[in-house]
């Protein structure tokens, strides 16, 4: 029932230049110091309820490129991880200052995306098994009665219409103490969730209508600097460099010079780092909508000229993201090559790590057979490969080599927690 490690771990192509495995080595070596540091950080800034973090592993560098605070994809985790998720949910909710017995999950308004609904069923199951009465209440406009949807896996979800009772959000006669958002609020905070006296986790102001990648990676930069000082390594080994442009309009070609100037300056900065470490990869950058998600509003660029040469189709693709929101700000992020391949050369893979509270509870590989090592894998054609339980990111093994699976996965867990800590600081900052 559990595949063997050999089947479930991508091959890291090591036939390249650069300071390979420096990070795993150092992280393994200073594990107690790292964990002690994390403990002190979580005491100051508690972790968000949950998160998923996209990582890229170039061998010489491992960095987060996206931190999702309303993660879907729990259905892609190995089912044997579930006990860890259950325990982590229990510990997160038991720590709250108000007792919680009833939980209402508020999901995305997808009723036909079966993958998303499978995620929802698994998520609800985790909260139920953790011992909370759990229902799912939908923000879907026009939903007037409960909608039961049967899923291929054999489970089902029941979306119930929300109603307000004073300061409380309810479904039928069920008044939860906690609302769990699994909706990234791309279109803003709905009226329905204004002036609510129940706990809402994560808080509504962490939705993409208010959140900014630039702010996140600003916090991440500070964290990477502190953490690297602790380990005495170059922060660049764990951090994607970035720039940002505050006023862009891809359709009107506004902000183009800001974009191309930043692309150039960032490419130069990356090139300098590559030279320093003798890395022969070609530098590239990702232009991303500053508040986008779902892999939308993302493009890979290798020269400043490409910004001017965008055709209409490419502009349209960059201009609008989820739920028709217009892109007005962009982040230009260092592209991190992914040198992990699944199964056979050319099938590029990147790890996605899941956290509940401050605990790493699992992950999977996003795999794309039609993408190159310098492209966004979060696009049609991708699929997911589960990690085996023995490699679930909290079990480093000093008796094995730094790149042995439990240790590589432990490193992933450490970097993912740095990203989650950046989100915790965003949360604190927003009050």
């Amino acid at each position: 029932m559990v595949a063997t490690a050999a089947e479930t771990v991508p091959h890291l192509t090591t036939a390249l230049t650069g300071p390979l495995n420096i990070i795993e080595n150092v992280i393994l070596d200073r594990q107690s110091r790292i964990e002690s540091w994390f403990r002190s950080q979580w005491r100051k800034t508690p972790a968000p309820l949950y998160a998923s973090v996209d990582l890229r592993n170039a061998g010489y560098k491992i960095a987060p490129v996206d931190t999702n605070l309303f993660p879907a994809g729990f259905n892609n985790l190995n089912p044997v991880f579930e006990s860890l998720c259950i325990q982590a949910v229990q510990s997160a909710l038991e720590r709250l200052d108000r007792p919680v017995d009833r939980v209402l999950i508020i999901p995305e308004n997808h009723t036909r995306n079966m993958h998303y609904l499978e995620n929802l069923a698994v998520l609800q199951g985790i909260f139920e098994k953790a011992g909370f009465e759990t229902r799912t209440g939908s923000l879907l406009p026009g939903l007037h009665e409960a909608m039961q949807i049967d899923l291929d896996s054999g489970s089902s979800v029941c979306l119930e219409p929300l109603h307000r009772e004073g300061a409380g959000v309810c479904v039928r006669d069920f008044r939860p103490e906690l609302l769990v958002l699994n909706n990234d609020l791309s279109s803003g905070i709905p009226d329905f969730l204004q002036g609510v006296d129940q706990l809402i986790m994560p808080p509504v102001n962490l939705g993409w209508s208010d959140r900014s990648k630039t702010v996140h990676f600003n916090f991440y930069r500070d964290i990477a600097r502190d953490f690297s000082a602790l380990l005495d390594i170059d922060p660049w080994l764990i951090e994607p460099l970035f720039r940002n442009c505050g006023e862009v309009d891809f359709m009107k070609r506004a902000g183009e010079s800001c974009l191309s100037r930043n692309v150039e300056s960032l490419l130069n900065a990356i090139r300098k780092k590559y030279d320093e470490y003798g890395i022969t990869d070609d530098p590239f950058v990702m232009i991303k909508a500053d508040s986008g998600t779902y892999g939308m509003g993302v493009m890979s660029v290798q020269s400043p000229e490409e910004v001017h040469d965008l055709n209409r189709k490419q502009r349209t693709k960059m201009a609008t993201i989820k739920e028709g929101q217009k892109v007005t700000k962009a982040m230009i992020q260092e592209g991190v090559h992914t040198h992990e391949t699944w199964d056979k050369p050319g099938t590029v893979a990147e790890p996605v790590i899941y956290l509940i509270d401050q605990n790493v509870v699992g992950g999977f590989y996003r795999v794309h057979p039609q993408r190159a090592t310098n492209e966004n894998l979060n696009s049609p054609g991708m699929y997911f490969e589960r990690l085996a339980f023995e490699e679930c990111c909290n079990s480093p093994d000093k008796d094995q080599s730094p790149d042995a699976h439990p240790n590589r996965f432990y490193t992933y867990g450490v970097i993912a927690r740095l990203a989650s800590l950046a989100a915790a600081r965003e949360m604190k900052n927003l009050g």
Copy 2:
């Protein structure tokens, strides 16, 4: 690597009378209410650091018969449980009001019991992987330098001599913030641990020199009563009846009349319950040293006469327990038949459940091919069978039958937590 469920779950012999599966049914049905109740209990009385609980499952009744607060046997847990143990240790120690980075385990003085030493290696590994610098300091008299012991599993333990620095217990230059006792202090609290300003978990006054089974099961009785009221079931279904004798001396035959009187009254009480439920098993009771452990000082008795007919060898066996401590008090506990068999009929099995903090983190079956359903299985000839991870006691599945493995194991976890709660009350009571 993980055995299938079919291989790892004992057969519950259901061809008998009595209200079979009542408990599993009710527990599964009221799961959120049960978990809510536990949450409110742990808020009032935090769980001990760790515990193992011996259960007996008669089909019509499931009850704890022994609660060990200094559990060995972590090496008998399925290694895939380890992540749960790691996470539970992190959550327990992060909640403390003083930051802990360094941990010193103080084990039993066994240097030749390889099973115990394997347990110690696993336990130390759990704390290390959880991110605490961990060493093992031994109370062994005459230990003047570190003793490295290599184990069959390939790992090793290093027992280091303890020394005091003022109010601190240290090994070499290592001054831990937390002492973890894995020694049940049968001979009393050693001078070495007096007046220590470090945290000690579990507290020294929970050692067997101060602890009493009678006190534990008194607390358990209150808890079973409250819990049964919550579920609207007869408390007897989850509780072993008991009596106690305060002044016995098996060698001098002192207290014999108290023992036989209590054996008789308890057998009558059990018989009455059996009649009420139409159970055709023969009642029996266990006489146990009130402060004993390791399966020592325990005997199974089916009539009051047996107390008078003990031969010299039997008396000697009952009179002295671990580390030569004399037995002066006895508990007479209702014997609970174990109707679980491993592999083939006649190979009797009983579940042993492990907790860290309030979390159920795993368990195994204690199996004994030469013992009957009404005997103590904790005796030479026993062996252990691991539970598979999918059935790790925190994942009830309402889509399956109440006796399906995840649900039976969830029930075990519930009963084991009731016993751990009784220990929590002992702890609070001792201050």
